[in-house]
Amino acid sequence: MTGNTTMKLILHVWRQQKRSTAADFKQDGRMVRYELDGVSPDMSFLEMLDVLNERLIRKGEEPIVFDHDCREGICGSCSLMIDGEPHGPQSGTTTCQLHMRSFRDGAEIWIEPWRAKAFPVVKDLMVDRSAFDRVVQAGAFISVNTGVSQDANAIPVPKADADRAFDAATCIGCGACVAACKNASAMLFVGAKVSHFLHLPQGRVERETRARNLVAAMDKEGFGNCTNQNECQAACPKEIPVRVIAEMNREFLRAKAVEEPPSKKRVGGDG
């Protein structure tokens, strides 16, 4: 613990009232400067913003809007660009788990929303990440209905495969990978979905359709492509490796080589 010393900070925060549109992404947005003292090094970054918001409300100014919920690094809600880095300077850490002891007293900190065409700003620091949900809806699942499953141990999975699947499945869907990428590519996110199912026998049944559908959905949402800068891997709070992107590319090419099914629509009934 750091005792009673408190810090004084200068914050530059993106304030934007109107939702971004394709025609006008910036809208009325601008950086606003705030001075904040009495910051404890033991506060999380979001608690520091809570303190600022309480003071703004007392002064009669509208508080800064930002997404947050679990505040323990797992829900993926929080999403701040801090001094140009998604989730701030500490690796493997979400904004809610970043503590003010990572900054020095007197620091000047720039706080912005995720910047990506596929993530329009809703207000201030809050963005719309529903594009991720739509990508998942296109095929990041195993098509199994409730109640039809066999005994869990009937599907043995080699531990190494299970571990690789798990490494991909830890993705919290925060969008830091997109924010970090100069192309606003979602390939680490989508690759993680592909990789998770690829390493499980029960996930391999639909591998071709999954690869095709996820890539098509990702492109449709306006995410860019990968140019191997690996910024996504560095920004990912769950440290998902870029190998998932290679796996996705391989799966996509493989799916191209496999003949597409004649038609997904079934003609006629079963009799």
Binding site: P63, D69, R71, E72, D133, I142, G147, A165, T170, G173
Partner: protein, 636 residues
């Protein structure tokens, strides 16, 4: 208020089969004519919405988060119980049932608990089929561990993020249905009222959090899966936005609220570091498998942990409960921690903490083995506290974690409002007065995947599909009430922030209705809450308007409900003149051990709304124990 639990006939192991057969079926061709609203998208909500859509019902699902994947189920760390007996160590459905009834201190309904234990095995099968990456052994089969006071290894886990992996499984199933247009999903949408028409729940009122639009949705039935109310304490391990609003407003519309005083205080959380604290972080209970809990023997011993020799340490759980030791159930471990802190032996700057020490396990098993088991938890602890748990013991303290109380439901999970079903933590059904570890995930998914798809059919079969449309006056009236409340909150323009009121309420609840409760304290709390509620409606400051994202406005509505609910919770605690599970009354104890009163309190207390919390009427559902005999719960 009539409380018919609808417990099916037959022996305990036949009840669910019997009920499933008794329930009327909806013709497959007619299912698409019925619409069901599912509120919440956590384990219970996502699994219910997906399963109902798979059956062919039209489903609309609502969550206040930006994505259904973010519900707070995601934060569960430790694991999920299932009576698979893969370890050949004597587990069975009956043993899981027995442990859960006993762990709940004989305050749960036997028939529900048995069904939960029965369904536990199906959940694991379902999750594995969905691709949930549970921990595995080198042979490729699933791994298990012993957890939370169980003497068999029945807990399935996925590193320290079992909740996230199970939720992603349910979210994937839900997403598949959304993609197929079988579920219509409404994220960033908050439910603010239930619409009751001719005594049946036929719709809800929601507010679109982005546009501020207040809308109604009509349907044939409503399923609430909106979680627990732990945030009435302000500081808890719940996510910041967890709230009581959906269940409280349903209560105001006539749904009985059962056992609100049953709250679980989890023994292993990171202690509070200052006034700025916005929430508490849980350290998985699984840590108690290898960590030893202790405090100094002497009062006010301020030496560093490493400088205190073994003979001057008090491993109080091992001392008091030799057979369970550090694995004593949550309520017992939490109270024991409070007791040693009250004695002045707490550690850290505040004296509100105890040590959880891995020194001996690291010596026995090696640092690598401990890192493999708990690496991510140690990492999280180090990030929050800037202390290294490999070289010095963790500091932990109890924190509010889960709420066993909730809307009263019958065996079919139907509330006292016909057509209003309640699943997961939002209902009161399965954990009695104390929940065992790794049982919350189990209950949420059992309700959503395997109970509601059957029982809702039994209700819908008796309803004409689409019999009520949104043009009935009840809809406009309910929407107008919500709009009026929004306007009122924005119009007060007082001086104090919403969080300020919430923090004050939290302090009252924690000090008077927290780990130990007394008649005097509860009466003081009730008066203090009433006064605070008066001040809130005079002096709260909510800036901005209702037409864009307004997080203060969202919070204000939730805190307004907590200010009513908190009073009911205290009244429930006051009226329950016994100690059981998570409810500990100072007046009813034997040297620190809870003293139950089965003669007078072997029942669920169900509150009926009568205009204000002070006028709520208490009803009883008597509990009958035919299989597990009432006994003093001893872990010595």
């Amino acid at each position: 208020m009539k409380l018919d639990s609808k417990i099916p006939s037959g022996a305990i192991h036949e009840k669910w089969s019997n009920r499933k057969f008794e329930l009327k079926l909806v013709n497959p061709a007619n299912k698409r004519k019925y619409k069901v609203l599912v509120v919440g998208s956590g384990l219970a909500g996502a699994s219910a919405a997906a399963s109902l859509a798979e059956l062919g019902y039209q489903v609309e699902c609502f969550c206040f988060q930006d994505s259904p994947r973010r519900a707070h189920s995601i934060a569960a760390q430790g694991g999920i119980n299932a009576a698979k007996n893969y370890r050949n160590d004597g587990d069975s459905v009956y043993r899981l049932f027995y442990d859960t009834v006993k762990g709940g201190d004989f305050r749960a309904r036997e028939a529900n608990v048995y069904r939960l234990a029965e369904l536990s095995v199906n959940i694991i099968d379902q999750a594995v089929a969905q691709g949930v990456p549970f921990a595995r052994e080198y042979g490729g089969l699933l791994d298990n561990r012993s957890f939370g006071g169980a003497q068999v290894s029945r807990t399935f886990y996925a590193r320290g993020q079992t909740g996230q992996q199970l939720l992603l499984g349910a979210y994937a199933a839900l997403s598949r249905q959304i993609g197929q247009r079988a579920v219509k999903m409404f994220p960033r949408t908050e439910m603010l009222d239930v619409v009751v028409v001719d005594g049946h729940a036929k719709g809800i009122v929601v507010r679109d959090l982005q546009t501020g639009e207040i809308r109604t949705h009509a349907a044939d039935a409503v399923v609430l899966c909106t979680g627990g109310y732990g945030n009435v304490f302000y500081l808890s391990t719940n996510a910041k936005n967890c709230n009581v609003t959906a269940t409280w407003r349903a209560h105001r519309r006539g749904a009985g609220f059962a056992n609100p005083c049953y709250t679980q205080i989890h023994p292993t959380c990171i202690p509070v570091s200052g006034d700025h604290q916005s929430k508490l972080t849980l350290m998985s209970e699984s840590l108690r498998n290898d960590g030893r809990v202790w405090v100094p023997l002497k009062k006010g011993d301020k030496r560093k942990a490493a400088d205190i020799p073994d003979n001057e340490r008090d491993y109080y759980l091992e001392r008091k409960y030799p057979s369970f030791g550090n694995l004593a159930p949550r309520d017992i471990a939490s109270r024991a921690a409070m007791t040693v802190c009250d004695e002045g032996r707490g550690i850290g700057d505040t004296g509100l903490g105890v040590y959880l020490d891995f020194r001996d396990s690291i010596q026995r098993l090696g640092k690598d083995a401990i890192a493999a088991r708990y690496g991510n938890l140690f990492h999280m602890y180090a990030k929050i506290t800037a202390e290294d748990p490999y070289s010095q013991p963790m500091r932990i303290f109890p924190a509010v974690h889960y709420t066993m109380g909730g809307l009263w439901v019958d065996y079919d999970l139907q509330s006292t409002i016909p057509g209003l079903f309640v699943c997961g933590e939002a209902n009161f059904s399965d954990h009695g007065a104390n929940r065992l570890g790794a049982s919350a995930l189990m209950q949420g998914l059992a309700d959503g995947y395997f109970v509601i798809p059957y029982t809702i059919g039994g209700y819908l079969a008796g309803q004409k599909p689409g019999s009520v449309d949104g043009k009935r006056p009840e809809f406009a009236q309910a929407a107008a009430n919500v709009a009026e409340m929004t306007k009122r909150l924005l119009g007060i323009k007082g001086k104090r922030t919403v969080d300020d009121f919430h923090r004050t309420l939290g302090k009252i609840m924690w000090s008077k209705c927290g780990m130990a409760r007394s008649e005097k304290g509860l009466k003081e709390a009730i008066a203090a809450i009433q006064a605070l509620r008066g001040e809130f409606w005079q002096d709260v400051r909510v800036l901005g308007d209702g037409m864009t994202i307004n997080q203060s406005l969202e919070k204000a509505g939730r805190v307004a409900d907590f200010l009513e609910f908190g009073e009911l919770m205290c009244r429930d605690a006051l009226e329950r003149r016994e100690s059981c599970g998570g409810h500990f009354r100072d007046e009813w104890q034997d040297d620190g051990e809870a003293r139950r009163d089965d003669q007078n309190f072997c029942h669920a207390a169900v509150w009926e709304h009568k205009g204000a919390p002070k006028d709520a009427v208490r009803h009883q559902e008597q509990l009958h124990f035919e299989n597990v005999h009432l006994a003093v719960r001893s872990y010595k």
